[in-house]
C-alpha cells in the first residue's frame, strides 16, 4: 500500500468502516511509515477532541412549536399504543408539568429516538476509554461507589459487585447522554471495560433485554424497577448477556433481601 492510498484509508480505519483485511493492510502500512503513523495519531486525537466537545446544536423551542403547529395532527387514539417505553426516562424524567404544557409533542420528540441514544451511549463509552476518563470514583467496593452517586443524580443506580461472577467492579462515573446527567457503573472483564449506564424512567414496566451492535460495540438495554439500563462493551454479545443476567439476578436478590 502506498502513502497516497493510506492517506484516504486511514480515515476509514478511524471511522470503523474498513473490513478486517483492509484494516490489517492499512495498519501494516502505518506500522512501517512514520509519516502515516503521525497522521493517524493526529487524526485520532482530533476525532477524540471532536467527540468530546459538544458540537451539536439544539433546535430552538420556537422552531419546535412552529413545526408542531404546521404539521397535521396525529390521531390521538393511534398514538398511544405505538410508543416505546425505552426513552420515557428521558422524556418524563425532567418533570411531568413540561409534558402537560407541550402535550404530545414532548413524548413524540423523544420517543423512538433509540438510535441517537444508542449512538450517544457509544460516544460516552468511547470517551470513558480515554486516559483518565473512566472513573470519577475508583473503588472495587460497592459501598463506596454507591453513596458517591448520592446528590449527583436524581436516581440511585444499583451498584453491585460481581467479582465473584467474573465481572470486577472498578468504579463509577457521572456521564452525559441526551444532554442529561446519567450514572455509569464501570466493570471489567479481563482487559475489557463494561460501562453500565443507568437512567430513571417514569414507568415501572419491565422491558426484556435486547442487544444491538454499533460501531463494533455491543449494547444491551433493558428496563427494570423504574430504571433504564444500557450495558456497553467490546466483549462478545454472549458475554454481555451473561453480564446482564448476573447483574439482574444479583439486583433482584438485593431488592428482595
Amino acid at each position: 500500500m502506498t502513502c497516497d492510498e493510506a492517506e484516504i484509508l486511514l480515515h476509514a480505519l478511524i471511522d470503523g468502516e474498513l473490513d478486517a483485511s483492509h484494516a490489517r493492510e492499512v495498519e501494516a502500512h502505518v506500522a512501517q511509515c512514520p509519516r502515516c503513523t503521525a497522521s493517524l495519531a493526529a487524526y485520532r486525537q482530533m476525532s477524540q477532541a471532536i467527540a468530546t466537545a459538544d458540537l451539536r446544536y439544539s433546535a430552538p423551542q420556537g422552531l419546535r412549536l412552529r413545526l408542531e403547529a404546521a404539521l397535521p395532527k396525529p390521531a390521538v387514539t393511534a398514538a398511544a399504543p405505538s410508543r416505546r417505553a425505552v426513552l420515557r426516562g428521558f422524556a418524563l424524567g425532567s418533570g411531568l408539568s413540561a409534558i402537560a404544557a407541550t402535550g404530545l409533542i414532548a413524548i413524540v420528540l423523544r420517543n423512538d429516538d433509540q438510535d441517537r441514544i444508542n449512538s450517544e451511549i457509544v460516544s460516552a463509552h468511547l470517551r470513558s476509554l480515554q486516559a483518565g476518563h473512566l472513573t470519577d470514583v475508583l473503588s472495587t467496593d460497592q459501598h463506596t461507589v454507591k453513596p458517591w452517586f448520592n446528590g449527583r443524580l436524581d436516581v440511585a443506580p444499583p451498584v453491585i459487585d460481581l467479582t465473584a461472577q467474573g465481572f470486577t467492579l472498578i468504579g463509577g462515573r457521572l456521564d452525559y447522554v441526551d444532554a442529561r446527567p446519567i450514572g455509569a457503573v464501570v466493570y471489567k472483564r479481563r482487559a475489557h471495560v463494561i460501562n453500565l449506564f443507568v437512567a430513571q424512567t417514569a414507568n415501572m414496566a419491565h422491558r426484556a433485554p435486547r442487544t444491538e451492535t454499533i460501531q463494533g460495540y455491543n449494547i444491551r438495554s433493558w428496563s427494570e424497577r423504574g430504571l433504564n439500563f444500557w450495558a456497553i462493551s467490546d466483549i462478545g454479545a454472549d458475554e454481555l448477556a451473561e453480564f446482564t443476567d448476573k447483574f439482574e439476578a444479583a439486583a433482584r436478590t438485593n431488592t428482595e433481601g
Binding site: S58, A59, L67
Partner: protein, 186 residues
Amino acid sequence: MPVPSLDNDPDKARRFREMTLPHLDDVYTLARYLLRDASDAEDAVQECYLRALKHFHTYRGPAIKPWLFAILRNVCRAEYARRAAAPSSAIEDTVETAEQTPLWNEAQETPEAQILRERDASAIRRLIDTLADPFRETFVLREINNLSYREIADAVGAPVGTVMSRLARARAMLRSAWMAEQEPSK
C-alpha cells in the same frame, strides 16, 4: 400551512411525526453548519420538514436521517443561490478554489495557555466553519451527525469514494488549522 394530502390520514401524520421529529436537533445542527446562520437555519429546517411531509410517500427507508438530510441539503442550496444573487453577500468557495488555496491564510493569535489544551466547542465550531461547503458538509455528517459513509453518500448524492476523499481532505484542512493554532505565531 395547508398540507391537504395528509390532513385526512391521521395515521400517516402520526408516522411522519414519530419518524422525523426525533431528528429535529440533528437536522437543525446540520442546517447550522451548512448555513452558518441561526435564523436561516431555522427557516431551512422548517422548509425541510414541510417538504419532507409532502414527499413522505416517496420515502423508502431504511434510515430516515439521510433522507431528511438530503432534503435539507436541497433547501440549503436554494438558500446559497439566494445569497449568491444578493449583491452584498459573499459567494461561497467552490470546490476547485478550496482544493488550491490553503485553509489557513494567516496564523491565528492564540494565548499560550490555550496551546495543547483541548479545544472547546466554540473554537472547534469556528474551525469547522472555515471549511468550504462540500468538505464541511461531509465532515459534519460524519463527525457530528454520526452517519456512516454509505449514509453520507445517500444524503449528498455522491459515490462513497467521493465521500471518503472529501472527508480525508476536510480532516487534513482541519488538522493544519489545528496545528496552526497550537503553534504560537511568534
